[in-house]
């Protein structure tokens, strides 16, 4: 973008009219600019439409008091997942645009300018990692873990809200970059020196820096909170080796977040110092050293892969065990494998830049360490297969995702072994082979897992099941679309096609690019199916209510409460004496009835809502927006709002609300009465309307 004259620089910093995509499209009506203006327009229209709907239905007040300011871990979890869904839609559309561009730009310019294409792959990657994957898994953990460990909330409900709003603030900056200015063309990893001011003087890299920094700080806080919750808030008797596997993988992910997000924060902030204050950390001259950035970034970036994948492993463990009606096979080995993966994830970061000049011996060490990770991962795959063995396996949607994951992920693992060998890595480094590989890991290893978890726990969160038929359609599209979109990329990469290429000059690539383009459209159809499924499920919810709370004959404590659970989760704190406390209570005649009344009810304290979280998160985003545009006054004002919110919150007292025992008793007894009136169903009927959330106990 050519620099334009600033308008009112004292007020608007370096903003000029040319920074609006609409103005650019007006002056230069190419397809590329019109698409940019359309995307910006979509953000504006979307925001106005949402505001209009809220105003029309007078939902602002309820939204504010019951959701946006809520400190309830369940609502915060749901808000994280909603954010992930919105961002997934944007980043997937961007992926389709890139596939279309590559399919038509063979010996032709295509319809996207190189600069626009660069922005697309940068936003696609940054969003998918920081604002789709991270919020999705953080949301699931937030919702599920306190219920699984028998806690009433996270350890720090308020910090939970701050972390959510920092993440939303970062995502908001990503969206703002569509409407005002441009985004970085430096990829999701933002390597200097290209991202230094000398080569990228515009606002794009600054958007990237601050969006990622906010997301990173939010994730660090989430990690601290999750770890502390699991360490300190487990129900009586719930020893570590009795925890659900999802809690284990969440704990390991949280530990990874605590140690791996700070390197990212350091990398982006040092880059910001370079750009804003003329420091020389990563510049070409005056003693700067770009390799420090590569090391810092991947010191985050590799553990990040396991931050993303471990929660999905946890979901698969729950799903496979539940839908096979069997104990998880090899529980101890799964725990050890999870821990081993978490530790090893810190020992392999150099494999992201084998070609960047360290000695062959160093490459060999990191290559071997990389291959070692295949061992615990293989252990897990075998454990899941053995869990299914001779089980009462039901092919529900979450189970389908799990099986598709096992097969697809293993293929991705094989190509990972290829990439882990430095001599082979040299051949395919920076080609589409790598792109195919990491999509092959992350789509089954993250997205399928998150979708499986979404299907699996949705009835718990909302009290009704998701539509199976549209779920299967979405599943089919996600799997078929994935294979069509990414397996051709292995071929293209092995043939030498570089990644991030805006125009292609090799006609023999054409058929493969067409197939990949078709795959991208099928993936888009998968997203559409998910949306239709949500709509259909809400419309037909009367037929899928599972208020008794246990639609899948679940094993952990989360299934022992109503769906949706009460605000305080458990009327009386459970006592745990095994790995499947709820399942054993249901199926073992010698044990107490899981639907008994607690011995006595007592008052329960729950946190009141707080607007400080939203003030801090959005204040930080506005301050960052000011930094991007060099509107220093705005940064100053917004930063003061953040500090003031922090101090006011610390001066606040009376931040809890007590729910009286009588109210809890009435609510709980009424639910128990409804459970007793519910007809228990056998497993073969669990996807039918008759399933009201009570499992039949086999004699």
């Amino acid at each position: 973008m050519s620099p334009s004259t600033p308008v009112l620089p004292a007020l608007l910093g370096r903003f000029g009219w040319h920074d609006l995509p609409f103005v650019r499209a007006w002056q230069n009506p190419t397809a590329s600019e019109i698409i940019g203006a359309f995307a910006g327009g979509l953000v504006v229209v979307g925001a106005i439409a949402v505001a209009a709907v809220l105003t029309r239905h007078r939902w602002w007040g309820r939204l504010w008091s019951e959701w946006l300011t809520s400190l309830d871990h369940k609502k915060i979890g749901i808000m994280y997942v909603v954010l992930a869904g919105v961002m997934l839609s944007r980043a997937l559309i961007e992926a389709v645009l890139m596939r279309m561009q590559q399919a038509v730009a063979i010996d032709a310019p295509g319809f996207l300018s190189p600069d626009h294409f660069g922005q697309l792959f940068s936003t696609h990657g940054s969003i998918m990692i920081f604002f789709m994957a991270m919020p999705f898994l953080t949301g699931l953990i937030n919702y599920v873990v306190p219920l699984q460990i028998g806690a009433r909330d996270m350890a720090f409900p308020w910090a939970n809200s701050v972390a959510l709003w920092l993440t939303i603030g970062g995502a908001g900056l990503m969206m703002a970059s569509l409407v005002v200015g441009e985004f970085s063309t430096g990829g999701w990893s933002g390597y200097p020196p290209y991202t230094e001011r000398d080569f990228s003087p515009g606002v794009g890299v600054d958007y990237w820096i601050w969006a990622v920094t906010l997301g990173s700080i939010g994730s660090t806080m989430a990690g601290i909170n999750i770890a502390c919750t699991i360490y300190k808030l487990r129900a009586p008797g719930l020893r570590f080796m009795r925890m659900q596997m999802f809690c284990w993988t969440s704990l390991c992910t949280a530990i990874l977040m605590i140690f791996a997000m700070p390197p990212l924060t350091v990398a982006t902030l040092l880059l910001a110092l370079d750009r804003y204050a003329d420091f020389h950390f990563f510049t070409n001259d005056l003693g700067g050293n770009m390799m420090n950035y590569a090391n810092l970034f991947w010191l985050f970036g590799h553990p990040e892969v396991y931050i993303l994948i471990l929660p999905a492993f946890g979901v698969y463990s729950e799903v496979v065990s539940t839908f096979s009606s069997k104990d998880l096979y090899g529980y101890v080995s799964l725990v050890l494998a999870t821990m081993a993966i978490a530790v090893l994830s810190f020992t392999v970061w150099v494999h992201h830049f084998f070609t960047m000049g360290q000695s062959a011996n160093i490459n060999a060490v990191f290559g071997i360490a990389t291959m070692t990770i295949g061992v615990p991962t293989g252990v897990k795959i075998y454990d899941w297969i053995w869990t299914m063995f001779r089980g009462e396996v039901r092919f529900t949607v979450p189970m389908l995702y799990s099986i598709a994951f096992m097969m697809t992920f293993v293929l991705g693992g094989f190509t990972g072994i290829i990439l882990a060998m430095p001599p082979l890595d040299y051949l395919v480094h920076n080609t589409l082979f790598l792109v195919a590989h990491f999509h092959n890991m992350l789509i089954p290893g993250l997205l399928y897992g998150m979708l499986a978890g979404y299907h699996y726990w949705f009835p718990k969160a909302f009290g009704f099941r998701l539509d199976e038929r549209w779920g299967r359609r979405a599943f089919t599209c996600w799997v078929v679309g994935f294979y069509l979109a990414f397996f051709p990329l292995y071929v293209l990469g092995a043939s030498g096609m570089a990644r991030r290429t805006q125009a292609i000059f090799e006609p023999s690539f054409r058929p493969w690019l067409y197939v990949a383009g078709v795959g991208a459209f099928i993936l888009l159809a998968a997203l559409a199916s998910l949306m239709i499924q949500l709509y259909v499920s809400i419309r037909d919810r009367a037929a899928t209510m599972v208020e008794a709370g246990d639609p899948w004959d679940g094993r952990g404590l989360e299934w022992s409460v109503a769906a949706p659970p009460p605000e305080y989760n458990f009327a009386g704190l459970p006592h745990v004496d095994g790995r499947n406390p709820f399942y054993d209570d249901k199926h073992d005649a010698g044990r107490p009835d899981p639907y008994r009344s607690p011995t006595d009810y007592s008052d329960i304290e729950v946190p009141r809502g707080s607007m400080a979280g939203i003030a801090i998160g959005l204040g930080a985003a506005v301050a960052a927006f000011g930094l991007v545009w060099e509107m220093w006054w705005l940064t100053l004002v917004a930063a003061e709002v953040v500090v003031a919110a922090l101090i006011l919150r610390s001066f606040g007292r009376n931040q809890h609300r007590t729910i009286p025992a009588a109210e809890i008793a009435a609510e709980h007894e009424a639910w128990l009465a409804r459970v007793r009136a519910t007809r228990p169903i056998p497993r073969r009927l669990e996807t039918q309307a008759i399933n009201r959330g009570l499992a039949e106990v086999r004699a």
Partner: protein
């Protein structure tokens, strides 16, 4: 099962129904985890400094810039401030008169501010003869590392003032006590980081 003697690492305030209800154990444990992730940030800045110390680009070097005497005085100031904060924590634990608590907190604040003033003076001296962060990679890394530490000290001083305000507003209720314990941990961490800075940056710079 009897309750464990030590509810959390560090100075414990002893059994108090109020503290237990407000989750002192979780609150302090969570803050420890936060300090660990903060320590990772400092560790990375130390590593960055280590790789960049040679990148002087023909400009000022550690030997030409670092003055051991002011750095040593700053070390003494911070070490003393940790002792005075510790004394303030004990005044809180044993419910000594409010005046004693404020006295020790005030002394801590004074020492922290003096440290910041001396560090600012160091910076000003360096800047005066051209040793600015934009001069070289080495100076960038130096300013980022010591600057982040200084920023932490400034935040801690500000936090201390806020805490005095809370003691005045609420007395020593459970949350004030928990937050004073957290501030104490934060303050001691800054000391430890400074000792590392003194050893790794200043002492090594002097012997180069």
């Amino acid at each position: 099962m009897s309750e464990p003697e030590l509810a959390h690492a560090g100075l414990n305030l002893g059994p108090s129904a109020e503290l237990t209800r407000d989750g002192a154990e979780n609150a302090i444990f969570g803050f420890w985890i936060f300090l660990m992730s903060d320590a990772v940030i400092f560790a990375l800045l130390f590593a960055t400094y280590g790789t960049m110390v040679a990148g002087t680009a023909g400009g000022p070097t550690p030997a030409s810039e670092f003055k051991l005497l002011p750095a040593f005085v700053e070390t003494l100031l911070l070490l003393t401030s940790s002792a005075t904060f510790g004394r303030a924590s004990i005044a809180m634990k044993y419910a000594e008169p409010r005046r004693t608590l404020f006295g020790w907190l005030g002394a801590t604040l004074g020492l922290g501010l003096t440290f910041l003033a001396l560090e600012a003076n160091d910076y000003a001296t360096m800047v005066a003869h051209g040793a600015v962060p934009s001069r070289s990679g080495f100076l960038s890394a130096f300013y980022a590392l010591t600057g982040l530490h200084g920023l932490h000290v400034a935040v801690a001083c500000f936090w201390l003032v806020v805490m005095v305000g809370q003691v005045l507003a609420y007395g020593l209720d459970a949350r004030v006590k928990i937050n004073l314990l957290r501030l104490g941990l934060f303050w001691h961490l800054l000391d430890i980081v400074w000792i590392a800075i003194f050893s790794v940056v200043y002492l090594q710079g002097a012997i180069r």
